[in-house]
Each structure stands twice: as C-alpha cells, then as structure tokens.
Amino acid sequence: MKAMHEKLIFEHSAPGRSAEAQYPQVPVEAPIPAALRRAGAPLLPEVSELQAVRHFTRLSQLNFSIDTHFYPLGSCTMKYNPKACNQYAMLPELLNRHPLAPESTGQGILQILYELQEMLKEVTGMRGVSLTPMAGAQGEFAGVAMIRAYHKARKDLARVEIIVPDAAHGTNPATATMCGCTVKEIPTLPNGDIDLDSLRAAVGPQTAGIMLTNPSTIGVFERHIDDLRRIVHEAGGLLYYDGANLNAILGKVRPGDMGFDVIHMNLHKTFSTPHGGGGPGSGAVGVSERLLPFMPVPIVGSDGDRYRWLDEKDLPQTIGRLSGFMGNTGVLLRAYIYMRMLGRDGMQRVSEFATLNSNYLAARLRAAGFELAYPERRASHEFIVTLRREAHEWGTNAMDFAKRLLDYGFHAPTTYFPLLVPECLLIEPTETESKEELDAFVDAMIAIRREAETEPDKLKGAPWTLPVRRLDDVRAAKQLDLTWKAA
C-alpha cells in the first residue's frame, strides 16, 4: 500500500529523541569564544533513525519517476538510468577521494575523466572538451563567455549581441544576459525552420553569435543549417549549439561537422545520468579549434601514461573556473559508465530508437485525431501536439490534459513550451520505452479526449487520484509559506 500523505518531519519530532548511532557520543564542548557562540539550537528534527527512514521512504512514494512511470517530458530526455552507472560510480575509493588530493593518488579517476573527454569529442566532432560546467545552464554560460572572450582577444569589442530563435529554451536569453550580452530574437517560420531572411537582417558587426538547438525545441531538424552557419560566420559571429537535444542525433550528425564553434551537452539527458528531482546535472562543453584557448578549467591532460589537471598556467586565456573544484565528478563517472556500456553501436541505437519511438507516437496520435504542430515535418526525438481545437471546442486546455494524464498513470509531457505553439504538449518518449508503453499512452490520450468531449469537468478538476488535487499557485505566490513554523 503506497503512502498518499505524510506529515512534515518536524511533526514527528519529540524533544530529546535522536538517531544516536550516527554521531560521536562523547560530550564535547566546542571551545568557542562566547561572542562567537550560537544562541539557541537550530530547528532540526528530533527523530529516531526508523522514523526518518520511514518518513523519507513515504515521501519518495509520493513521486512519479522514471523507475515507476512513463515520463515523456519533452526536452528533458527522461530515459532509463541504468543501475550499474550508480553502483560503480559509488565504489568507496571513488566516493571518498578528496578533490585536492595529489594527482598521484587519483590516476584512476583522472584516466576516466580523460577518456570521457575523448569520447565526447568523438561524439560531438569538437576539438576540445571541458567537463567542469555543473549543469546545462552553466555549460551555456561557459559557451557564451568563451564567445565573448574570443571577440575580446581579437579586440572586436562591439560584438555583444547574441541572436536567439523565439523557440529557444529560456536559459539561452538568460545566459546571454548573465554574460553581459544583449539578446536579439528572430522568428521561426510556420514550417519550423528558422527565418533566414530575418537572420540576414539581424547579423552585423554587433553580432557575437547565435544560440541554436538542432533539432530545435519544436522537435524538427534545422534543414538549412549550412546556410545559417554561413550567414553567421560571414558576419563575424560564432555558432553556439545547445545540446539539449543531442539524443536525437547521436552518431548521425555531429555539431562539429555542422560547423558549430561551441556546444554544451546535458549529460543528465543524453548520457543518462539521473535527474535527481532537479539535479545534479552536468553541462560539459565542446569547442572548435578557435575556442580551444578559452575553455573553462580544470581539464584533464595526459603526458603519455600520466594524467594531470590542466589549469590557468596551461591555458592562460581560459575564461576561468566555474566551480569550487572540478565540476560534478560523480555525474561524469555515471556518464562514463553509461557510454562504455553502450559502446559505439549502442550510442547510434540511442538516436535511432528515440526517433523511432517519437515518430511512432506522433503517427499514432495523429491517426487518433490529435493535431501535430508540424505535421509535414519528420519528428526528431520529440514532437509537439497542439490542443487548440480541444481548447476551443470543449474548453479543455493543455494543462487539463496534462493533469488528467497523471490520473492515468503517466507523467505529463512538457506543457506550454515552446511558447510559440498554442496549447502545446512537447512529447519525448526516449529510446528506452517499449511499444506497449507507447500504445498505453495513446490509449490514455484517446480516452481523455473522449472525456474532454463528454465530461470536460473530469479534466478540469484533474488530478483526482494523486496525493493532492490541483494546487493554488496564485495563493502560493501571494501568501508566501516557505518554511514551517511551530504552532
């Protein structure tokens, strides 16, 4: 029997209780001058070990997850996370190594990271890879910072504008701002390609670069990538590849071969490291020849059979450091294990079966009467359904469908993104789902559509069977309750 509700941990507390096996019992009085001493104990739980274990186990049961549910969250690549990746990344020697321990005591881990860099270079077709960014957005930051550093090194100081398609992920414009750049949006054509005329009009001596996802966030491959690259490069700008959708093209086409100058990869998407309820991610970056000197440090180098960290002394033009040590090493380990288990053929199968699943799901939903946003295009690893007709005719919008899907035991697809398609669901099944699972999802969508027509309140009131019903987000933002207070 699964938990449906769980008290707050603080409501399990009783004064004086604690998990005494977990800390030194010899009483110590910390020798702290009175003026620097804490007044009053912090509000931490007072529970037994079993109470804590039961509480957090029950909380876990309130979640949907890949291990328990189909999770077709578009642009997030919610594929199976093989258990071996976690088990072997948590070997005690790897887990207990201090990041500043001498390199002589870390040749094993350094070799792993070096080989990971090499494999990612091969997969992306880039000339150099730095593993240090801690998430996709930090990889983006590193990428745009390198573009800026490149122009600055050439004394090309006017180049501060980043071009972003209107369908781009929100992190793209936010990143450009963090790097001190301005943002220029260009439109997407009705067929899903970027409007090259607008691009031609947008580029100029102020152009630092363009940030692109390919396949794009609307789930189609940018067919005119060659022209696009030429326009941007001829104007003196660089091309940034947002690797959020790398799963779609693994082994089929490489960003380096498409002419991109810099790419970030979301290892927690394409290379199956866990999403962890919102991180940790890992946003390794790859660069073309001209950006090699600017890569973020540290990077693993090899002097024959010895491995060592390359730092500011080796790359004097580096954009610098992005984290306290060397990024999310434990995540990198999991990506390494995953890549070794897939091998060169398995990696190609990733894009093949992700694309097969996506196109199959799109074809079946279309046959069932759902409207695809780009019906004349080949789906990549994801595709968009627009529910504008359902919204118009029955008043049931994309959010209603999403919430009702939860009742049917499916995590909802991404809703209302990209912003330019009305009432949209962005659906990404990934390669690890079986045909049976996809068919069951189609059945649920058909059943929900029937409900929308006959009993729309079933959608508008959904979900009905989860730990909570639809939550009042306006109240959450207006009557802020961000911490528990004892009554």
Partner: protein, 458 residues
C-alpha cells in the same frame, strides 16, 4: 540491445504505422553531406560485468589514503540510511517538480530542507539549492546588486581570507556584469580579516561586503563588527558559512545588530561524499524582503482544490523559463538529489548530533595541530581561535612533503603557498570526527620521518 526493449516485430509494426521503409529514413531531413559515418573513435560496448571489473580496477589503483584535507570539502561520517534512500528510484530518477501533484515527495522534502536551512542560518527563507558554494557566492553577489537599491556603485568587498577559488569563480560568473571586486587584507598574525581595513571605505558607496566564517584558514572572524560596519555604510553583508559550524557558531542571522542579509555556502558537509569534487550543492538563505531577488527554485506550501495543503514551485516569475533575458539567473536544473541527502542527514543528526560533529571536529583539529607542530620544522601560522582547519608553516616547500606523504598513503593537507605567497610554505590541514587519535598519530609520525629524510637528503 542494451536498454532498448524493441523486438523485430515491434520495429516492423512501428515503421508501418509511421509509413517509413526503415529507421534510417527517419533521418532524411538531415542534409546528406552532414551525415556522420558512425563513431569509430568510441570503444565497443562492455556488459555490466565487464564495466564493473573496469571500474573496480580504476578504484583499486586510487586506493583509500588517509585524508587530512578540507579547504572547502569535508570528510564526515554519512549515515547508511542517507544514500540508501537518496538512491531510491522515486527520488533518483524523478525530475524538477514541474507537475506538482506528481512530485509531492520531492516538493515536501525541499520545503523541509528550506525550513532547516533557514533555521540553521537564522534567516527567514532559503531557496532549494544552487550548484555549489563557489557559484552560490557569485549568485549572491549578483543578487546583492539587485537587492541593494541604495547602492549604485556595484562595488563588492571580498576578503583575501575568503576561499581563493571562490574569488576566482565569483570573478568569472559575476565579472561580465560590471561588478568591481576589491580585496580586504587579513591580519598576518591572527589570520582574521582586519575590520580596520574596512575603515578607508567608510562613507563610500559599497554594494556589499562578503565575509567567510570560518574563513579559508579556519580562523574565526569578527562577524559582528563586519556586519555592523556594512549596515552603517548602507552595504549588504553576505556571509559564506560552513553548515556544520552553524550548530555551534553564531549563525549569519545573529551577526551584529541586524544580522547578515544573505548567507551562502557549500552544503557538501551535510551528507554528501567528497567524490573528487562533486556533485555538491550550494545553499542560500536571506530575509523575506529580498525573496524576489533570490535566484533558484523556491518551494511554497499552498492549498489544493479541496483545501488540502500541498507543495509547489513558487515565485517562478523570477526564473529563466518565464522571464527569459530578464531572469534573476539562468539557473534551471540545480542539485536536488544532494539536497535530498542533506535533508535526511540533518534529520538523522538533529541539532545535537550536528553540534557533536562540529565540536568533535574542532577537538580533532586541535589534537592534529598539537601533534604536527611537535615535528621539527613545523609551526602554526595563526594564533586566533579557529574551527576545524589550521594553517601550518613548514621550513621547506610543501609539495615534495605532500608527495612523500602520499606515497605512504596519507593525504596530508592542501598546499596553499602559491595562493598566499606572503605566508611562505603554507599547508592547510583539517581533521573531522572521522579521524581517530591513532590516525593523527600515524600522520605525525609519517611527517616527522618525511621531514627527517628530506633534511637528510638535503
């Protein structure tokens, strides 16, 4: 096919439904001249048994040396229950709780975490995490510029006794937005930031002052004086703190007359393994008045359609997916799983357990300092009260000594000579509750022999 469930029949049926002759046809929108000829540079696949053997080999090569480094990452006991629960698929393989009703477990846990961190820092509110302590401080500096509306200068004072890598990261992340960072010197005798160094800035427009407590040397700072100076000069005070220390040290919210404005730090000591540098997580807490300037995910408690309490992501209007180029930060994915570990860790230890860990670590470090400074050629750098780290000065370069110790299975500390040339041959050491008196003795003997041998060699 590893991790792919399709049978030949499935593939045939699916291609028929699509109306494509084969899988390759699904890539027909990619221009032919760009198609890759496969990935010959990637090695062939290994099965789970083989990959296990491979990883065990790497791990064995690295071994398990006895560690005495801190310098921003601390080896503490992690209760078995922590990672047994964290690696449950329901936490491990879920994503950012966009669908709140299907993510109440993660959301409630994050609300509990926010409560614990707010209380530990003695501030009003906490976010749901940032990447790590260093990048968290960069975000705090950017936040201070937004939050301090009285200041126009974008000038922020950083102590030289702040973790030098944090200084580097802050410069990289916040440096592109025209923020000027100026350095506050430390006292060569005590190792604490000189509050008198703030005096020349009195009356000037300063956006924020950063103070690390304990500082990079392990020395305890006069946080009250620095906080009061900042507020008297219309600057915000950003405290960089070690969460373990907050069980016993005055927390940022109690600094000075008004308390610090923002507290940040690395949450790694709370149940997160050293793991060669990450993943860790950054925490950030502040006063309610600054909540809309805070970066990162924030969880709120609200009511559902039936009036029942539940949890959801809130104040999303600050974030990149809504505000795009005007967002408070580009952060999206943060470090949820590590926060899960920290929340379970804090629940198991409680205030008493955390204070015992802090107190025992202080005691062990004192014992380590006593043992190592008895070795000829080793002396203590600073005489002020400290937490669980100390700087030792050697009569010779540190690096060869550390290498000799490493050959004996001891990771003897962090060589900070290059970052602090005025100190000379400086070694930063740390002992937590995980080091025994026997460990300390082993280190002291090995150091004595190493020093003797290298003296003899010289």
């Amino acid at each position: 096919m590893p991790f792919i469930p399709h049978t030949e029949d499935d593939i045939r049926t699916m291609l028929e439904a699509i109306g494509a002759p084969d899988i390759d046809a699904l890539f027909d929108e990619i221009p032919a001249n760009l198609r890759a000829p496969g990935l010959p540079g990637v090695p062939p696949a290994l099965n789970e048994m083989e990959v296990g053997r491979l990883l065990a080999g790497f791990a064995t090569r690295d071994g398990r040396p006895l560690n005495f480094i801190g310098a921003g990452a601390y080896e503490h006991h992690i209760p078995s229950a922590v990672w047994a629960i964290v690696t449950r698929g329901e936490f491990y393989s879920a994503y950012t709780p966009y669908q709140a009703e299907a993510s109440q477990g993660t959301l409630q846990l994050l609300y509990e975490y926010q409560t614990m961190m707010a209380s530990l820092t003695a501030l009003d509110i906490s976010n749901a995490s940032l990447y790590d302590g260093a990048s968290g401080l960069a975000e705090a500096c950017l936040m201070a510029v937004r939050a301090n509306r009285k200041s126009k200068s974008q000038r922020i004072l950083l102590p030289a006794a702040l973790n030098p890598t944090y200084r580097d990261v802050v410069q990289v992340i916040a440096g592109n937005q025209n923020i000027a960072f100026e350095l506050l010197p430390y006292d060569q005798k005590g190792g604490q930031t000189l509050v008198s160094a703030l005096e020349p800035y009195s009356g000037q427009d300063i956006t924020a002052v950063v103070l690390q407590q304990p500082n990079f040397f392990g020395t305890l700072e006069d946080a009250d004086a620095a906080t009061d100076w900042a507020h008297a000069n219309n600057a915000l005070l950003i405290g960089v703190v070690n969460p373990t220390s907050l069980a016993v040290l005055k927390p940022p919210g109690q600094w000075g007359r008004l308390g610090a404005d923002i507290a940040v730090g690395d949450g790694q000591p709370l149940g997160v393994p050293l793991s060669s540098g990450g993943p860790y997580f950054g925490f950030m807490a502040t006063r309610t008045e600054h909540v809309r300037q805070m970066p990162g995910r924030i969880i709120g408690r609200t009511l559902d359609l039936d009036g029942k309490p539940g949890f959801t992501l809130t104040l999303q209007a600050r974030e990149q997916h809504i505000r795009r180029s005007k967002a408070t930060s580009n952060i999206c994915t943060n470090q949820g799983l590590l926060v899960t570990a920290a929340t379970i860790y804090m629940s198991l230890l409680g205030a008493r357990g955390l204070a015992q860990v802090a107190g025992t670590s202080m005691q062990r470090t004192q014992q380590l300092v006593d043992a190592l400074t008895r070795v000829p050629g080793v002396r203590l750098a600073f005489d002020r009260p400290r937490f669980h780290e100390a700087v030792l000065l050697l009569d010779r370069p540190v690096k060869p000594v550390l290498e000799a110790l490493a050959r004996r299975g001891i990771v003897g500390g962090a060589d900070i000579s290059a970052r602090y040339p005025s100190l000379g041959n400086a070694l930063l050491v740390c002992a937590t509750e995980t080091r025994t008196l026997a460990d300390i003795d082993t280190y002291a003997q090995a150091l004595a022999e190493t020093m003797r041998n290298s003296a003899a060699a010289a």
